[in-house]
Symmetry: C2
Subunit: 188 residues, 2 copies
């Protein structure tokens, strides 16, 4: 997958994912909603989306890898899981924003914090392929978050997923997260 995939995730009363929990981890939350839907592309007319039962929408895009080395990329590609697996009935949408301090760091400084100090890439690897993930970028679109992180997993991986989230939140990298929202979902 090299071509970017553009998505709009809407929160409202429609969509295949029912919200089971919605809690701000850091900073301001979004309005409570019953369901999420993911639509490919950016609707030209944002009102059209909102009239379809949506209270808010978040846009993002996949992109080329920004930090992983060739060795890490090979390890990830060998083990990663696709979205949409029938048995992966649980999901999480965790939108994240990082501070200005983070974005002013140079590439090598960010890589050192993310990979060498925080082991973000290797921690993520431990939970594959049980927890499938996709990263959408949105900072450059002027959106309220910098990333929309999306995870899908079967109920048997619930405890593992909680450990993954806890371990990442305890890293040095997470000191640069200044807004984070945690939305848990079940496919119905």
């Amino acid at each position: 997958m090299t071509s970017p995939v553009l998505v709009t995730i809407t929160g409202g009363t429609r969509g295949p994912w029912r919200v089971t929990r919605m809690s701000p981890a850091t900073g301001e939350s979004l309005a409570g909603v019953e369901r999420l839907a993911t639509v490919e592309g950016f609707p030209r007319n944002s009102k059209a989306t909102l009239e379809d039962g949506a209270i808010w929408s978040l846009r993002g895009h996949t992109s080329n890898s920004r930090y992983t080395t060739a060795t890490e990329t090979s390890a990830l590609r060998a083990i990663q899981a696709d979205l949409g697996r029938p048995h992966a009935t649980l999901a999480a949408l965790i939108p994240i924003r990082k501070s200005d301090e983070w974005w002013q760091l140079a590439q090598d400084e960010r890589r050192t914090i993310l990979a060498e100090q925080s082991r973000h890439i290797s921690i993520g690897l431990e939970y594959l392929p049980g927890v499938a993930r996709r990263l959408y970028h949105c900072r450059d679109l002027g959106e309220p978050f910098d990333f929309l992180t999306w995870f899908e997993y079967p109920p048997s991986e619930s405890d593992a997923f909680e450990r993954l989230v806890d371990r990442l939140r305890a890293t040095d990298e997470w000191r640069y997260v200044d807004r984070e929202l945690d939305i848990r979902l079940i496919r119905e």
Copy 2:
């Protein structure tokens, strides 16, 4: 400047920059136009822009640095020039697309080609502050190019600018450029 700046560059009959030359360096060109204008933001209704004398429009955004180390960032920040200098009456818009092969490379592989093999960052430094530059990203927006590179310089730097362009096009990095258009401009 850490917040992304979104821009739409329109080609048509209006705008402060008159086109003096427009030539494809690699691949397909765009329709010939008389003038370019740059508008901050992405118009919600693309027709509104096109009705204003525009034949085509290209969108992009500034972003955090993707390859520069802390040392390189310091060197660039110490010497870089702003856009809009009154004496910088010449400009160039060079939209560039890179191949799928490039985008499938990992971060360290792209850095090696761009910086170590091709010396893109250090070559660029040699022409600062005479040639002011800004890089807009657009690949992740589903645009026809991956980057819009924009340069502004006074007539006294014209020869230097030609050398800069020639040197970059001769690098290993440029083997991954599969579409490139070269539009030269004068402010009127």
